[in-house]
Amino acid sequence: MLQLIKFFTNNRSGILFVFLELVAFGFIINSHSYHHSKYLNTANAISGTILKKSQNIQDYFTLSSQNKELIRENEFLKNQLEKKINESTNKTASPIDNISKYNFVAAKIISNSYYKRNNILTIDKGSKDSIKPNMGVILSNGIIGITLNTSTHFTTVLSLLNSQTRINAKMKKSHHFGSLEWNGNDFSHVQLFDLPIQAKIQKGDTIISGGKSLIFPEGIPIGIIESYSVRDKAYQNINIKLFADFSALNYVYVVKNRRSAEQIQLEQESNNE
């Protein structure tokens, strides 16, 4: 017994080292199953506040590019509005269509990351603004990710640039579906998988979000096909150049689907029958 105590006191730092490494490794494993990574994420008050403060300072250095981005976005929305006004004067829409399916909450990115294999962002809106996990995060010209954990004032977002993200996408011209994933090499390109060979594709074709998921509205532009190859009667390596620049994200929109509960319930009922 005395020898045992002696061993422990002599190797105190060694044992402490092994213990700390095990705890740290536990955290790493935990963070890889993202549904359970509740302990160490930036959606907590302390790091959220620190990140927000530092972002506030950094904002001053990008004011002109932020302005340009807002002007571009304004122009885009004005055009959309104009189109909608023209449409609504031409035909009488059914009243149910007037209740929009989605509404959007603007949020500011306070911590951006795009250079890692698995990127997670933090935004400055939380459960106080009724943001929940599994909501879409978008720009007018791209999909950013899916909300992960929320606290009162902050939310973490699983970026499109993450090995765990799969996003339903389709061809703008032919409505063939595929799945977007990221291979981890270059933050301006993602890859499209499972596109059937029947879809005729060309370089320069536009990819938009598909309407199959409850998370994202249909038809958000994502990017264009930059290169692809065909092998064994299947598409390989369809490389998509993203419209959105992940290295310069600032304001994003969180998508709330008003009918998602209704749709999930309906689908479950149909499955049970």
């Binding site: 700390l20 790493i28 963070s31 160490l40």
Partner: protein, 143 residues
């Protein structure tokens, strides 16, 4: 760019006094690492890597300088010869960065990319760390 990803906080392991208790260094490294993880959503990657280099820093210094444990405990970062100090920091930085990027990817499938990222980031970290140490040192000599 997306490749260069320097970490300067590891300077903590270099400037922590040699004659202080090892427990303080390990616990301090763990807490600092967790703090970085908290800000970067990295789970426990930085805590793991920082505790690792904190633990081996003493053995490595003994190996590089050929001095005994007692002699090292007597010396400080200011009394070390520069080539030894430099090698010591380079090796620890490479180990730390390699661990961080490996744990981040969690696989060796893009090994070339991993090595490239480690080397490039180490270079930039080294410049920043040496610069930072210079600040520490000059402050000391004036005091």
């Amino acid at each position: 760019m997306g490749y260069i990803d320097p970490y300067v906080y590891i300077i903590f392991v270099f400037v922590f006094p040699f004659n202080k208790d090892k427990t303080g260094l390990l616990v301090g490294s763990f807490i600092l690492g967790l703090f970085i993880d908290l800000l970067t959503n990295d789970g426990g990657i930085h805590a793991f890597s920082l505790v690792f280099i904190a633990y081996i820093r003493f053995f490595l210094l003994r190996l590089l300088s050929g001095k005994s444990t007692f002699e090292i405990e007597e010396s400080t970062i200011h009394t070390l010869r520069f080539p030894i100090l430099f090698m010591w920091i380079v090796i620890l930085t490479i180990i730390h960065h390699f661990l961080v990027f490996t744990l981040e990817q969690f696989s060796f499938t893009h090994f070339g990319h991993l090595i490239f990222k480690t080397v490039v980031s180490t270079l930039l970290s080294m410049v920043l760390i040496i610069f930072g140490l210079q600040l520490f040192m000059t402050k000391k000599s004036h005091a």
